[in-house]
Symmetry: C2
DNA sequence: GTCTATAAATGGATAGAC
DNA sequence: GTCTATCCATTTATAGAC
């Protein structure tokens, strides 16, 4: 592994663990047992590291979003897809826990993240559309954009909520709860199929949570 | 108005307008056309100012939460109460837009904010309970805590979402949309009464939004 | 109470030796 | 590529005059 990769890997771990805001370029160098000078040789500073990490995140997220198109039809598919999305996001939790701050500090990232949000919004909308076509989802006239926005918001701030409540919950458990919560946004609009899905998810949820 | 009050009022305005993170003690002094020395005479620094502002916010929010007990019964009451809550929060938007960062920087505030969240959670739960007793709300067995959490999350991060999407929406319009969105979390669990309420709220929403 | 001036602390960044 | 040494900018905080 070359130095550039080591720096990215180490920074990501450090940011996720200790929070991005309070880490300086020197801190990063220390963790990697490397001189600040060397760090600056590879990256112009913390900003450049964050930009590179964001590149990685964005590429992965876009791949996931595009992979969803047309392939996710049943309620169960949606449910599993959510797990994958949330795990991906969790890998870059430092970013999501400090969204506002980071985007304010790096306007170029803000532009890109907004575009990514738009693609997420589109994908969510398409997934709901597929469920409607399949006849399992029945939305009242004006509900759809509101429901999409609710899902997007939960997808964007579940990690912030966890951080703020200070639960410091374990990854698997937190993701399970969040999947459950997001599915619960949709289920009330599903009629009979929703009740079944709810029971299935609840049962699964219980088994997982008891571990 | 004495100097202490001037500082608090000016800081709140500055933070709300320009974001808390990028304002230094000197910036605050400049806005108030006052020397940094004088500022430090009244407050030990930015941290002390933020703590004082939080005192204000917390007192107001607790008053609102306690005022709700038992007095809010109909769907319309809930809807109006939400406006009041959101307006109160909007007055301290600098805090909500930077929640994670600020709470990490001032651990004493984090403890207090968590307690406040707990009281909000309780109040929301009580309000939903009243709607259940009134027979307009019907929740499936495990739904209630999830629904409460969804509402609490939206209440906590609506301003962050607005900041992140960069919509920079006007206050009244943003609050309307958020009220609508939060009510929409509850309405699917209301059966027939929900459909009516939905239509009423939609109609009202349209009139307001067209202005 | 308020100001000016300045010290102390921190973080960002680079030059030059190896 | 990597290190040491150092400098520069920003922010915090205080001392002492008025």
């Amino acid at each position: 592994m070359n130095t550039k990769e080591r720096i990215l890997k180490g920074s990501l771990a450090l940011f996720n663990e200790e929070g991005e805001a309070r880490q300086t370029a020197v801190d990063i160098a220390n963790v990697l047992e490397m001189s600040p000078g060397n760090l600056y040789y590879h990256f112009k500073g913390k900003g450049a590291i964050i930009a590179a990490l964001y590149d990685e995140f964005e590429a992965g997220m876009r791949a996931l979003l595009r992979g969803a198109r047309g392939r996710i039809t049943s309620i169960e598919d949606n449910w599993l897809y959510l797990y994958v999305l949330l795990e991906d996001i969790h890998g870059f939790r430092f970013f999501y826990r400090n969204l506002g701050e980071i985007l304010a500090r790096y306007p170029a990232l803000a532009v890109r993240f907004r575009a990514l949000l738009a693609e997420q919004r589109q994908t969510i909308s398409a997934l709901l559309g597929d469920l409607e076509k399949a006849g399992v989802l029945h939305l009242m006239p004006r509900m759809k954009p509101v429901l999409v926005q609710q899902i997007l918001m939960m997808l964007t701030f579940w990690l912030s909520m966890d951080a703020v409540t200070g639960a410091g919950e374990e990854e698997a458990s937190l993701i399970h709860k969040t999947v459950f919560s997001i599915m619960t946004l949709v289920i009330p609009h599903m009629g009979g199929a929703g009740l079944e899905a709810m029971q299935a998810i609840s049962a699964y949820y219980d088994t997982v949570m008891e571990k």
